[in-house]
């Protein structure tokens, strides 16, 4: 399964982090997932490893020292961002790399990839998109990876689902903003009425 997904920039600032790991509960005492401090520590150590790696080297890192036994880490460097997937032996290394970018898994109906999907969603994704679309990013990721397993390998399907979900949410927020506007107008007209009243009273005086 996939243990964790991280996106961070080349300065080590996390842009997205998601931990699916509940296997840890067997080794560490009771907590079934990483507490936030631990997560931050993991992100830092991953960044420490990645930043020390040169360009044009292989994209795999043995992550046993960071994430415990039987873990692998695959990363891809795009512009100012690192995309990092941590996984165990039940995933194929190259397939994981495909999940980020896509080069080896060339079969007809499944062309996927996290970055590609992001690209399609944000029209040429850049770091700013990822910074400002925190919840959308999570929605996309949740559609691809569910509980540590890859469930959707078609970016069109993902985009379809994401769009529907945001429609669901959007209708509400439009309604809400409409309500706010109404309230605003109401209070404004009240204020105007108030002013005009006072003006007229002043005049009449």
């Amino acid at each position: 399964m996939i243990r964790s997904v991280m996106v961070m920039n080349t300065q080590g600032k996390p842009r997205l982090s998601k931990f699916y790991d509940y296997q840890v509960s067997l080794s560490s005492s009771s907590s079934s997932f990483f507490p936030v401090e631990k997560q931050q520590e993991l992100i830092r150590s991953v960044f420490g490893v990645l930043s020390s790696r040169a360009e044009n080297v292989s994209n795999f890192v043995e992550a046993d020292s960071i994430f415990g036994p039987d873990t692998r880490l695959v990363y891809k460097h795009y512009a100012t961002l690192y995309f990092v997937f941590v996984f165990d032996s039940s995933e194929n290394e190259l397939a994981m790399l495909d999940l980020i970018q896509g080069k080896f898994l060339n079969c007809d109906n499944f062309v996927i990839f996290f970055v590609e999907t992001l690209d399609k969603c944000f029209k040429n994704v850049c770091e700013l998109d990822i910074v400002f679309n925190y919840s959308k990013l999570h929605t996309i990721l949740d559609e691809i990876i569910f509980g540590g397993q890859v469930l959707e390998t078609s970016s069109t399907e993902v985009i379809k689902a994401v769009e529907e979900i945001s429609k669901c949410s959007l209708s509400l927020s439009i309604c809400l903003s409409f309500l706010f506007l109404m309230c605003l107008l109401e209070s404004a007209s009240n204020a105007i009425a108030l002013v005009s009243k006072s003006v007229s009273s002043w005049r009449s005086r």
Binding site: F110, F146, C168
Partner: protein, 977 residues
């Protein structure tokens, strides 16, 4: 109220504002975050759900990316999650999945909301709830929501169905009994026409079989169908993962899948699938020669690819296959060696492992030569990787691959000189280890040590100090092999040794002591011989004088030389002296030396330089160098330095005495000094040998020693008793008995010489408190009475595997007061270890067993159902005995081979047993309502439990029903035969 909340909403910063603001204030990020947190804390208490949800969203953002604790908001998250609005719900669920864990107290409150959402008509709401369950599901949630998950498994919407399938993994993990309910539907989904659904199911099975694969053997036909028919690479990869596990359990299955896998290898263009095929072949199908050959060809393609990822994975595949098919590595040897200088650390490391796999007796020298030259060129990190793997490979199974130890000793010396070397400790251990294990290598070791010691530059590198300590010890211990002890002495006493840490300096001092004793002893031996030969010569000359001078030219030569020797005693140097004089003494000396087991060459070399002058110079040098150390603040150094100075003082008086005396006198006086030196020399030249870690256990308890049966109260003493020990460990690793002994007897000797240091005072204090564990003190002193203090460590160190010697040894070491403490903690530690392992092993085992047990039970029930499609898919007709084989998956599989027409009694027995088991369980559930592993939630949810017991009970009844069917008419097509 409404107005105020609207105003709040209006002026609230939403997530985007927060992010924007945070980007503008990068300088004082922590301040900004704490401000925002105050704001969030205020807003989240709002009664307006929208305000609350926005605050929660901001909070989960900060928590996820800045690592802030959001547990305080868990109740608010539940409130937001229960909102009818989808947007709120989404934010709420996001916060919950991110922050809840088993310790969250309000976890219980979300069960009902989850159930409501799982039953919702909106597929996105269902999906949110499933996602939540898959991330935070615990035993309670898994148990209580199993019926809902079961319903969703047959949902008409693929969007929901695939997530329901994936969530099953978590539910099974937490609540194995759910297997009885859901497993059948899960398997049915394998037949689905939607590839997404099938891939989700296979994903679940892949995870499940990773933990325990035997239970899923009966599903092999389904998996096989996918392997042959599917065109989906993702799916194929997962199926291959499952088969890799199953094939190692069932040889016949392996036979069946070899061909399809090879087919995939030949056809596919997808590297990921290719790699998975290769990995399956090299790890699980390595007996099939043709498949392995094909895989190796494909690996080669990976290796020559430009993509470093493929290179890396290719090397990795090679290292999987290396133990079984070394030829595959040999074939690519050139490439592997070349990869050592690749720019990619991963590739370098992987090829290093492969190179190490190729090491054998015949090529070890060649390979290490190449590696060391690589190590010299590469960066510090990789250099040490290389050195580490050389050291570990060469020392494997007690230096199995090493034939030429002289070479290895010089290699160790060479490695120590590599600038980045940080493997000091390992090299130190090995130097000493081979010194003790391999007698023949000692001269070479001393030679190597000399090289290391006389190089002042090495003293400046702290990583090498450990090696220097070993070198110093070796050259002290085996000084008789040294070609030039004086040079060694200078090296040991050179001023730059002040750079060494005190523990290692103490080793230097001790070694200097050994060397000087050796020199003095050799000198005295030599002088005695000379003296005796002179005596003989004089007598001869007297005789010859009285008889005839010409009769004995040799003795006349001697007589002419002898006075010269005794007169110009100081300046005497055999090297310059007459050859005719040297010959007989060499003979004499040679004899003595042989009896002392010294190599005659080095002895004759050494002997030739032992003159009065050089010895005096040597002793002066020692006095000069160690004089300042006698005031050292480190007790260990001070102690040893004082010992050395004391004995030198003793010796020097004797030696400096002008020996221009009558020969008889000379001989008599010499013997006193000689005896003292001889005693020390004897002690130092006692052989040290390695002791097995279990040696102590084989020693019988000596008479008169009453050991307490129960040592539990020892535990509290052990802590402080062992405290001083690490300081005194100067060299070697604790696995050697004599190393353990050394500090102990050092303590003892210190005790005797009445110089108090912290160890002895601690010991004394300890003895006062726990006198019970000590032997009477006089006993210890009696034993060590006869020897000078410095003698003790070595006299106890004569160790051999011989049991009799060991008994003697322990008698001696038991006499040292420290020993009982030292011996006893070990069993205690061992016991603790065992307990820990047992506990650790128990914990995961429990869950896995229940899960796989449940799976097996259900599979049997499941198979019994009239799954016509499956029985059709197989060409073999269903038969009774085969069904029983399925039941017997636990039994040795060979039994299936020779299963003819006759009934297998085991089959019925086990099926009956399993029936009994489930019946028993059912009964237990009726009365207790709980399984064993759910004890902890007893009394927490009485009402819900009773509700659910019905549902579960029904399901189990169903399963039992199947089981009964199985027992009566097992209809399972055997795919494997």
């Amino acid at each position: 109220m409404a107005g105020s909340s609207i105003m709040e909403t209006l002026f609230q910063r939403n997530l985007e504002d927060l992010i924007k603001a945070s980007r503008q204030q990068q300088v004082q990020e922590s301040l900004f975050i704490s401000k925002s947190m105050d704001e969030i804390r205020r807003e989240i208490k709002s009664t307006d759900l929208h305000t609350k949800s926005v605050a929660l969203q901001k909070l989960s953002y900060l928590s996820s990316l800045h690592g802030l604790d959001m547990s305080f908001a868990s109740f608010h998250a539940i409130e937001v999650m229960s909102s009818p609005q989808f947007l709120h719900k989404k934010i709420g669920y996001h916060a919950i999945t991110q922050s809840f864990n088993d310790d969250t107290p309000v976890m219980l409150l979300i069960t009902n909301q989850l159930r409501k959402d799982l039953n919702s008509g909106n597929q996105f709401e269902v999906s949110l709830a499933l996602e939540c369950l898959s991330r935070i599901g615990n035993i309670d949630l898994a148990r209580d929501l199993t019926p809902e998950v079961f319903t969703l498994l047959s949902s008409s919407k693929a969007f929901v169905k695939k997530k329901a399938i994936a969530v099953v993994l978590r539910v099974f993990e937490k609540y194995p009994d759910a297997v009885r309910v859901c497993f059948k539907r899960l398997v049915e989904n394998l037949e689905s026409s939607d590839p997404i659904i099938v891939s989700a199911v296979i994903g679940v099975f892949c995870e499940l079989s990773l933990k325990e694969s035997r239970s899923y053997l009966p599903l092999a036909p389904e998996f096989y169908k996918i392997l042959v028919d599917s065109k989906n690479n993702w799916l194929l990869i997962k199926v291959l993962k499952i088969f890799a596990k199953l094939a190692s359990l069932e040889p016949r299955l392996a036979k069946r899948i070899v061909e399809p896998i090879c087919e995939h290898m030949r056809r596919t263009g997808a590297k990921s699938l290719m790699f998975e095929c290769i990995r399956t072949v090299v790890s699980s199908l390595s007996e099939y020669e043709s498949a392995v050959k094909l895989a190796v060809v494909k690996i080669r393609e990976f290796l020559i690819d430009d993509d470093p990822n493929l290179k890396y994975l290719g090397l990795q595949a090679l290292s999987i296959i290396a133990p079984k098919h070394l030829w595959a590595v040999m074939e690519n040897k050139d490439f592997v060696i070349k990869s050592l200088s690749d720019g990619d650390f991963n590739i370098k490391l992987e090829s290093l492992r492969l190179v190490m796999a190729m090491v054998s007796e015949s090529n070890v020298a060649e390979i290490t030569r190449v590696l060391v030259s690589y190590a010299l060129k590469s960066d510090p990190g990789f250099c040490n990787e290389i050195l580490g793997s050389i050291l570990s490979t060469c020392s494997r199974n007690v230096y199995e691959v090493i034939v030429d130890f002289d070479w290895y000793a010089s290699l160790l010396g060479e490695m120590a000189r590599i600038p980045h070397c940080q493997k000091g400790e390992e090299i130190e251990n090995q130097l000493i280890d081979i010194g003790m294990r391999v007698k023949d290598v000692r001269p070479e070791l001393v030679q190597v040590s000399r090289g290391l010691l006389i190089d002042p530059a090495l003293l400046g590198n702290p990583f090498l100090h450990k090696i220097l300590s070993a070198a110093a010890w070796l050259s002290g211990e085996y000084v008789e092999f040294s070609r030039n002890p004086f040079e060694l002495m200078e090296a040991l006493l050179q001023p730059r040794t002040s750079l060494l840490p005190s523990s290692i300096r103490a080793v230097y001092v001790q070694s200097a002591f050994k060397v000087s004793i050796y020199c003095v002893y050799s000198y005295l031996l030599h002088r005695e011989n000379v003296a005796s030969s002179i005596g003989y010569g004089n007598q001869a000359s007297e005789v010859s004088e009285s008889v005839s001078k010409k009769e004995c030219p040799e003795s006349s030569d001697l007589t002419s030389e002898a006075p010269a020797f005794s007169e110009q005693d100081e300046g005497f140097n055999p090297r310059d002296s007459n050859q005719s004089f040297e010959d007989p003494s060499t003979e004499n000396n040679g004899d003595v030396i042989v009896t002392h087991a010294q190599s005659s060459t080095s002895a004759s070399l050494g002997k030739s330089s032992f003159t009065q002058e050089s010895i005096v110079n040597l002793l002066n040098l020692v006095e000069l160098a160690l004089g300042s150390l006698s005031g050292s603040h480190d007790v260990e150094i001070q102690e040893r330095a004082k010992n050395v100075l004391g004995s030198i003082d003793l010796i020097k008086k004797e030696i400096l005495n002008p020996v221009v005396q009558e020969e008889q006198n000379l001989v008599r006086e010499e013997t006193e000094a000689f005896n003292a030196v001889k005693l020390m020399r004897d002690a130092f030249s006692k052989e040290l040998g390695p002791v097995s870690t279990s040696a102590q256990e084989r020693v019988a308890v000596p008479d008169g020693l009453t050991l307490k049966e129960n040592l539990s109260d020892l535990e509290m003493i052990c802590g402080d008793a062992q405290l001083p020990l690490p300081n005194t460990f100067s060299l070697g690793s604790p696995q050697y008995g004599e190393k353990v002994d050394e500090p102990l007897s050092d303590l003892q000797s210190k005790d005797k010489s009445e110089s108090l240091n912290e160890s002895t005072s601690l010991l004394a204090e300890h003895r006062k408190r726990h006198g019970l564990y000590y032997l009477p003190s006089e006993h210890g002193e009696i034993v060590s009475n006869d020897y000078p203090p410095a003698n003790d460590p070595m006299s106890q160190d004569k160790v051999s595997e011989d049991a009799a010697d060991l008994v003697k040894l322990t008698e001696q070491s038991l006499a040292s007061k420290k020993k009982p403490n030292h011996v006893k903690p070990r069993p205690v530690v061992l016991k603790l270890d065992g307990d820990e392992i047992a506990i650790a092993a128990k914990k995961p085992g429990l869950n896995g067993d229940t899960l796989s047990g449940a799976v097996r039970d259900v599979l049997l029930g499941n198979e019994a159902l009239p799954t016509s499609s499956r029985s059709n898919s197989s060409d073999k007709p269903p038969s009774k005995k085969k069904g029983k084989e399925k039941l017997n998956t636990d039994l040795p599989l060979e039994s299936q081979d020779n299963l003819g027409g006759e009934e297998m009694p085991g089959g019925t027995a086990s099926s009956r047993k399993s029936k009994h088991r489930s019946h028993g369980k059912e009964r237990r559930h009726k009365s207790l309502g709980k399984n064993d592993e759910q004890k902890e939630d007893n009394g927490q949810k009485e009402t819900q439990r009773s509700n659910h017991r019905h549902g579960r009970h029904k399901a189990r009844q169903k399963a039992d029903g199947h089981l009964n069917v199985v027992a009566q008419t097992p209809v399972i097509p055997d795919f494997l035969l």
